[in-house]
Symmetry: C2
């Protein structure tokens, strides 16, 4: 058992070293180092893969005698990891790496020049390889199950489709109701928000939420992310727009939410492959909970608005709290996912989920995508992209071969409300505490019910144990109906 | 051959990944991550060691057919690396790691409390292990040869002792002459030198010397260093004292000198173990050349002083160039090596070189060290430490087991003058160019004669080919006699 633990610890060290190199690449690496860095990361990742899949690991897994429940989980989950890692032939992985390298470049050019036809042949290759990948991974019902399972282990396409269909039925009319109501403008979140003041304010709030900077830090990067190198080193990045409050501040809360999850994993799991988020959905539930259910709530701004006014006197000096709160929550159907508000965001995801399934099942072809995209956008959100750059070309994911990833964003949103509702049941005065800037009970509840387990519990099991139910759209619909009913007066 | 190249490239990637983790540790890593980081670095280093010393590498070295001169050097130098790496038993390496871990902590406490006796037993262990290490490495004349060879391959104790003895004979009287001359005060380099202005000025000058920031960057760390992750990613760190010009500025030039060396290695060696400095002495010659022979020269300040006055108006607004130049070159025997001036610095090193040899040969014991240290300081520099913290306890090196390292500092100083004299012979108007802020010919000369080779040439060979002579104290003595004769009027 100790030999197995040592081996897994070394594999984990290699993966974390690769993550450190990637963090550096996005934050501080000199521009001219791209090529060498790509090689170094690939070397570390391939070592980790070779070690995980070699015969010694299998032998250790066979012969190890677990001495604790953690050991049992370590053996159980590592077996699954090995199985997954060995299912996909090395030549397919290599072909996918080559294809996604080319495809990413083609996507960048296609988006810049609004020319989908330049990207289409690359995307076709990606789709073909993804189907081959799904076949290699195996599935019981549909190839898409295998893809989804990579990011949200244990959830099936059918289950997600049921929940999403339920969600869409209620959400599309809600969006229409809001669109028909007197609009809320977001002027208060635009204006002079100096970089330094945003940076300091974001860190101050993140610390008060419970993100521990003794074991973390924040840096600037073009695309915000959070990354963990150990339970004791979990970092976030943010970008700041000095004329717009939302991306920097809510981005910081979002990434801090991810980071608090990984900081909250039981230290008994440190250095093992169990010390990681259990699924992308659960991860996203943590970021969205802090970003939206806390950070965009009225009690939160009751506490923080006076502080924000001091930090941004020019932009907020003559704005009142309620106006600011409404601005931060304005809903307006828009074309770009990453700029979407809390209400319409899930529709952007469901659109991609449907198109992905249709592409994988062969119901539509890559050539059909732009029209299908625009038609469904119009149908669900009432707006139609005037160019593919604002439509089907907007996201990088498919160009990288990440098909099956998008649904985890909406799953995370639903989970965030489901977990938050359960937390509220056990902390009845949560809103009062939030209005006092006291987040300790909520963080403790999340640590106890979600964070500590790392990968020891699946996302389904966490949800069931913490909330008493499997994934459902109910809590989230209740939450948006109540919050936006209040805001938009319906 | 291609298999060998691939294997060595992967080993190099692992070592560079470890260096990236170490860089992060000194610059940005959250404090609370120390333990996990130590484990991760150890994992990467041990993988690199295992791969280098395993049978597959030896088999590839046996069977590879070199296809070029670079291939030949790759095989030749890797054979030596493997031989060295396999000579030292793993258990000795482990015992040294444990001992130096403990010893470092004991040294920190001993220095803080000025209590040598707390460090002495640890240092005795380190000395014993170092002797064991030297025996394992093997040597022809003295165990110290084996230690020196780790840092300055190919140089023998006898050779260095001859050169140092020659140096000391001339240097001790010179220091006495200077001490007897009317003193030069260093008041102009003390004053208000704001952090930001120092940072910007240092980077501006480093760029003009030829340090390429497209493939490099500068960050803050407690102890300045330079580090390379590839020929295309060579970084430096600096610390800044806002009341004292020298540490930040000359530190930046020093580290930029190291960095330009590694940036100048032939790109044909990229990703191979040959893309590294060939010895610590040659490395130090490059840092000292830019720091002292250029950066502390009159022509340099003829060009940069007006710029410095603009950058630091409060400190330098009413100072003239000559006063500043003299301040930056003030000589005064002092107790602390890292604060020593250009002239006395080598005596600090020779003191350590002698004590190290006496410890290893058993001529003195650890208990004798404080007295021996103080006596020799008094003899050579005319000053005596009033405490061991200012004496034998000042440096970290011995606590880490780095015995044989110190002499490379003085070797580097001598080499810097020897190389600079050769460069001057081939660029007769070098001083005029320096006074015009044009360093391109000098950098090209260094690239051509030193940098490009990486580890393909030994330090002795570089010196011989570039200057026509083996290591000698002559150029450096001529340089200090001329420069400080002028400054101190003898």
């Amino acid at each position: 058992m100790q030999d197995l633990r040592d081996r897994l610890s070394r594999i984990t060290d290699l993966s974390h070293a690769a993550a450190i190199l990637e963090w550096d690449q996005e934050t501080y690496m000199p521009e001219g180092a791209e090529e060498s860095r790509a090689r170094q990361v690939a070397t570390l990742r391939s070592f980790a893969h070779e070690l995980l899949t070699d015969d010694d690991t299998s032998r250790l897994l066979e012969s190890a005698t677990p001495e604790s429940e953690v050991d049992q989980d370590l053996v159980r989950i590592t077996r699954k990891d090995v199985e997954k890692a060995t299912k996909v032939p090395a030549d397919l992985i290599a072909r996918m790496a080559v294809a996604s390298g080319r495809s990413k470049g083609a996507w960048q050019k296609a988006r810049a020049t609004n020319n989908f036809s330049k990207f289409a042949p690359h995307l076709s290759t990606i789709v073909d390889l993804t189907i081959e990948h799904a076949e290699a991974l195996g599935y019981s019902e549909s190839p898409y199950d295998a893809l989804l399972d990579q990011y949200e282990e244990g959830m099936t396409t059918a289950q997600v489709a049921r929940v999403f269909s339920d969600l869409r039925e209620q959400l599309v009319p809600l969006v229409k109701t809001i669109a028909a109501a007197p609009p809320i403008t977001d002027t208060a979140v635009h204006g002079n928000f100096p970089h330094e003041a945003q940076w300091a304010f974001g860190i101050e709030v993140a610390k008060q939420l419970g993100y521990n900077f003794h074991h973390g830090r924040q840096d600037v990067s073009a695309h915000p992310f959070s990354t963990a190198f150990s339970i004791t080193d979990v970092r976030i990045t943010t970008r700041v727009d000095p004329q717009f409050f939302n991306p920097g501040f809510f981005g910081t809360l979002h990434e801090a939410g991810h980071a608090m999850y990984e900081q909250g994993i039981d230290m008994a799991l440190e250095g093992t492959p169990l010390a990681d988020g259990t699924s992308l959905g659960i991860h996203e539930s943590q970021s969205r909970l802090w970003e939206n259910l806390i950070g965009r709530s009225r009690p939160f701004w009751q506490h923080y608005f006076p502080r924000a006014q001091k930090a941004f006197p020019e932009a907020l000096g003559r704005v009142d709290m309620e106006t600011f709160y409404r601005s931060a929550n304005a809903v307006a159907p828009s074309l770009i996912r990453v700029e979407a508000d809390e209400v319409t965001y899930n529709l952007h995801i469901m659109l991609r989920f449907e198109l992905e399934q249709d592409l994988i099942s062969g119901k539509i072809t890559v050539e059909d995508l732009p029209r299908e995209w625009n038609d469904r956008m119009e149908d669900w959100l009432g707006i139609r992209p005037s160019s593919d750059s604002e439509g089907v070309l907007q996201d990088i994911h498919w160009s990288l071969g990440a098909i099956g990833y998008f649904p985890t964003y909406a799953i995370g949103n639903l989970m965030s409300a489901q977990l938050f509702a359960a937390a509220k049941r056990s902390i009845p005065d949560l809103d009062v505490k939030t209005a006092n800037g006291d987040f300790s009970d909520l963080l403790l509840w999340l640590r106890t019910n979600v964070h500590q387990y790392g990968r020891r519990k699946s996302s389904g099991q966490i949800l069931q144990d913490a909330t008493g139910s499997p994934l459902s759209a109910d809590s989230w619909m209740e939450y948006v109906n109540s919050k936006f009913g209040d805001l938009y007066g319906f």
